[in-house]
């Protein structure tokens, strides 16, 4: 089991530039500590216009800073929005290759297609075609990284023959991932031989079913790249404290706040009828709804499987994720600067000391 950290870079409202600067500064400090403690990867999302929820609109810049201030931590560019109106595929390939060089071959390349009308509408993108454009990107990116000159004529974009530069440091190229929110995307990942970067809070049973399906299908894959990435990662939350009640109070507030911010996004599925978006986006309202429907006097405010609690509780939760076949867990550490930075760092240290040793790779 590998452990990573995952940044949305959420910022509280009303907005202030100092809060934004704090979110970025805190995240860099968390990345440096993660590097020291043996976490594997720092992932940064790409979102646009999602005020409060995510101010991470230029993740390649942030991840370059992470790479420059760490030595072993991999940088996860995930997921780059594979929609031509938002990112031209050649620019995606160029930026990723530069980041891979600057990080010394530590890039993991996530792909995505955006699921809010806020983002798609803001760039004038057509929600009907994002799955199609994503598919074209994942086929073209490995070629842009490995072939000297590439020409492409496709459905959602085309370009004449050009030598796309630079080429990445990793040979043949950085591992490819796709963010998995909608059920069924894990099949798309398996068929193309790319990793599943789960960002939805699936139940143990659902994750087990999806992982088994993925493992089976990827055996028959037609790889889009020169190397198959057959890893399954999930997203989780982390707040670890010796006192389970404190962990539940502090981490529970973070968990609830993130779910609420997420549920306030304007999903494409909600306002733009299309077969291309069959579910709402990541995390949706499920976690929060569970909290509301439960009796607060009897229940913990975080569902089973969330890594919020004392070390013993977190070890138990992760053992279950491990048993259902998950290779890596990426943790969200804070929401909108809600948890004081010192507490976040203490939580990471305690996790590294008391939880990581229970797992084979100990994170690294």
């Amino acid at each position: 089991m590998k452990f990573g950290i995952f940044f949305e870079l959420s910022v509280p409202q009303p907005l202030s530039r100092s809060d934004e600067a704090q979110a970025y500064g805190d995240a860099l400090e968390q990345s440096r500590l993660a590097d020291e403690l043996g976490f594997t990867t720092a992932w940064a999302v790409e979102h646009h216009f999602l005020q409060e929820y995510s101010h991470c609109s230029a993740p390649e810049i942030f991840l370059t800073a992470v790479a420059m201030s760490t030595s072993r931590l991999r940088v996860g560019h995930g997921g780059v929005v594979c929609v031509p109106q938002i990112n031209h595929p050649i620019r995606v390939a160029e930026r990723a290759a530069a980041l891979d060089i600057l990080s010394g071959g530590r890039l993991d390349m996530g792909t995505a297609r955006a699921s809010t009308i806020t983002e798609l509408g803001g760039f004038g993108a057509d929600p009907d075609t994002t799955k199609m454009s994503w598919d074209e990107y994942v086929h073209v990116l490995p070629r842009l990284w490995t072939e000297e000159r590439v020409r492409y004529e496709g459905t959602t974009f085309s370009f004449p023959e050009r030598p796309v530069l630079p080429k990445p440091a990793q040979d043949p190229h950085p591992p490819l991932w796709v963010t998995v929110t909608s059920p069924g995307t894990e099949r798309d990942a398996a068929d193309r031989g790319i990793g599943c970067l789960g960002v939805a809070a699936a139940s143990f049973k659902e994750q087990e079913r999806r992982t088994a399906d993925y493992r089976k299908r990827i055996q028959q894959c037609d790889p889009v790249g020169k190397a198959v990435n057959d890893q399954v990662a999930t997203m989780n939350y982390l707040f670890c404290h010796e006192d389970d009640a404190v962990a539940t109070r502090v981490g529970g507030a973070m968990f609830t706040a993130f779910g609420m911010l997420n549920s306030n996004l304007l999903w494409a599925r909600e306002v733009y009828p299309t077969p291309a978006y069959q579910s709402l986006g990541n995390l949706a309202a499920g976690g929060v709804a569970r909290i509301r429907d439960d009796d607060p006097s009897r229940q913990r405010p975080v569902p089973e499987g969330v890594a919020i609690g004392d070390p013993e509780r977190i070890v138990k939760a992760i053992k279950v994720w491990e048993s259902v076949g998950v290779d890596a867990i990426n943790f969200l550490l804070n929401t909108a600067n809600l948890v004081p930075q010192e507490q976040v760092l203490d939580s990471m240290r305690l996790f590294a000391a008391e939880v990581m040793p229970h797992f084979a790779e100990g994170g690294r």
Partner: protein, 246 residues
């Protein structure tokens, strides 16, 4: 997270008085539906919502026109505007007002579901090249909406949201959760064209449609369900939701 800042008492000044929320459904068979979603200017996004509700980003409204030729209260046509919002984590639309042609339906919708009803001539026409809706109210033309370039969709591709409708009730000011269930027979999507939207006539002059998102049409059996939940307008849903009968 942002919340509404409007004073519920001021908002409710001309809201319907609902003594007994609906306990029976209103069924409309074979109704025709035209619905457009538009972004609206963001400067008043909090000011148009009560504290119980949260704005979405970008702020947006739905304009829905329903032609119910066969219903429990006879034929009627309705045009409604809602502000897309969140109640706790849930997607909702805050009912602004509606124009209704059909006296019996207008009375029932106001008395039992707190629709802010304004009598008007409401027209919905479906043509091969799209659909057209017009509302005429005396000299006013509060709405002229077209759906252009229609293309068929599977009914499963449509998603409708429940509404919250402000009412004066014996217990005080409440938001009634109004649930409309659609059994869709035929559906499609097109490009919306809003050539008239008189925000003042709808009762909320701060709504300025600024950018089209989508338009859909459908034929459906539509049921306006009995009211199950009331919400206080001054506090969030987690704190202020009451189940009727408990």
């Amino acid at each position: 997270m942002l919340s509404g800042t409007a004073d519920p008492r001021i908002m409710a000044a001309d809201a319907p008085f609902v003594t007994t929320p609906a306990t029976e459904p209103l069924v409309c068979r074979g109704a025709e539906v035209l619905q457009a979603v538009y972004e609206v200017r963001g400067d008043a996004r909090q000011a148009v919502l009560p504290p119980a509700l949260h704005p979405v980003n970008p702020p947006a409204i739905t304009v829905t026109v329903i032609k119910a030729e066969e219903s429990d209260v006879g034929p009627f046509t309705l045009a409604e505007t809602r502000i897309i919002c969140r109640s706790g984590p849930r997607s909702r639309g805050l009912h602004v007002s509606c124009f209704v042609q059909g006296d019996e339906a207008a009375r029932l919708l106001a008395e039992r579901w707190a629709y802010r009803v304004r009598p008007a001539e409401v027209e919905l026409r479906r043509r091969y090249h799209g659909s057209t809706a017009v509302v005429r109210c005396g000299e006013l033309r509060p709405l002229a909406l077209d759906l252009l370039d229609p293309r068929p969709l599977s009914p499963a591709d449509l998603r409708f949201t429940d509404a919250l409708q402000l009412a004066r009730t014996p217990a005080g000011i409440r938001l009634l959760q109004v649930e409309r269930a659609y059994e869709v027979h035929e559906a499609g999507r097109g490009r919306p064209s809003l050539t008239a939207f008189d925000a003042a006539a709808w009762g909320e002059p701060r709504l300025h449609p600024s950018h089209p998102i989508s338009a859909l049409w459908a034929t459906a059996d539509l049921t306006i369900r009995p009211v199950r939940y009331l919400c206080r307008a001054d506090v969030g849903a987690l704190e202020g939701t009451e189940r009727i009968g408990q």
